[in-house]
Point group: C2
Chain length 273, copies 2
Amino acid sequence: MNLAVLQYYPEFGEKEANLLKVEKMLSKAAFDLVVLPELFATGYLFTSKHEVKKLSEEILEGPTVQMFSNFCRGKKVYACFGILEREGDRFYNSSLLVGPQGIMGHYRKLHLFYEEKKWFTPGNFPLSVTEINGIRVGMMICFDWRFPEAARTLALMGADLILHPSNLVLPHCPDAMITRALENRVFCATSNRIGTEKRGGKSLTYIGQSQIVDPDGKILVRLSGREEKVAVAAIDYKKAHQKKINFYNDLFLDRRENFYKVQNHLPLKLKKR
Amino acid sequence: MNLAVLQYYPEFGEKEANLLKVEKMLSKAAFDLVVLPELFATGYLFTSKHEVKKLSEEILEGPTVQMFSNFCRGKKVYACFGILEREGDRFYNSSLLVGPQGIMGHYRKLHLFYEEKKWFTPGNFPLSVTEINGIRVGMMICFDWRFPEAARTLALMGADLILHPSNLVLPHCPDAMITRALENRVFCATSNRIGTEKRGGKSLTYIGQSQIVDPDGKILVRLSGREEKVAVAAIDYKKAHQKKINFYNDLFLDRRENFYKVQNHLPLKLKKR
């Protein structure tokens, strides 16, 4: 399967223009499944709840899902993207997986970063794995990378591929996602945005470096910090079924789960802190 | 505290000479706590159980603990090192933490790599954390790096610093240990050996690159693949007490443990593989 990551510079608040730009970029590329950045259509650096509300959409009624439903049906492809989801008076930093038949997966970011805690309700759906064309995919969003349990849970649930829409500003994630790929023997596709947002006296610069990593930790694709591009890698997802790394070691069978429990046998002196 | 990693080239089977060499290297260095490689005194590439038995020692009666007990008592320092442990007719790939008062920690490798499974009994002690001079240390050995739960469990039990005696032959571990430091906000000290062992028609080359990484993922020390050296970094262990990375995020309080469970709600189609 041809797996793609789209990297671009969204204009804050210009949802319609961003959707058009992304659709144009995708129309020129050939892929089976593409990953887009976190909150790719709205921008990220919100300054008020009012702004968040204005840019949010209900999943089934908004223009973002409509565009992707049409696009994926027409091209017979799949897309995973971040979306500013509204449900009643709550807002979520979510991602969707859309295919030719419509919505196939929905995830709400479990680990909110920084001021996201001011705007969003923390994710309240379990991590989940969906099968498309034989490949099992799971989603996580941006800062989830910092918690090894997110990727681990998806992998133990059978994910071959982790889709990872992001808006990264700190430098460590691209290399850490190599560790996520290696420890779980899964493919990881991180799509990040680029550019600088200056709003309300604040400024954020996004690091790009969208990438696709294979289960051996090999970087199949890594973009620069500046380019707008749809980058594609052909992946053999069956490589992720093989958790054996040599004649003796299988990364899943070798787990010692009984020993992964936090023990309360520390001497009192150790507990006090 | 001054934390050190010792990197050197042990001669296979020459325990007495190796102990002397290591003692000499350590005598010239100034540190509070030093980490040595996995199985540093014996070498690694065993060809028979007989050989393993011959080179093994009972913890309390062998020359390795004797040397370190004397050294640490004399210098008022701490040392963590890998040891080929014999208990009855079982052999373990173990590590010890020795200080001025004697043995303070004992760990048996939970995740055995490759042919180690032919020689050793898998670890059967819980991961544990010990306090020395106010700093809480935990031990893991080499291939344990590949399982995020090992470092995670130690960190959740309160470890500020993970001591990591190793005999690394594959390339990914040094960078993956940066992820371990970042995700847990702990210091990680990996001591690796160098050189090539050729025995019984087999050959292994060890990658060196012993390192100390801080809770921000900064490499404080990283040795080359060839040098024999005791490298020292001054660390402020209290940095590891701070799991907060900004005003909004605390890496431990932000964990969503209820969502780290492998769900059995997959459609039947997904379960079959």
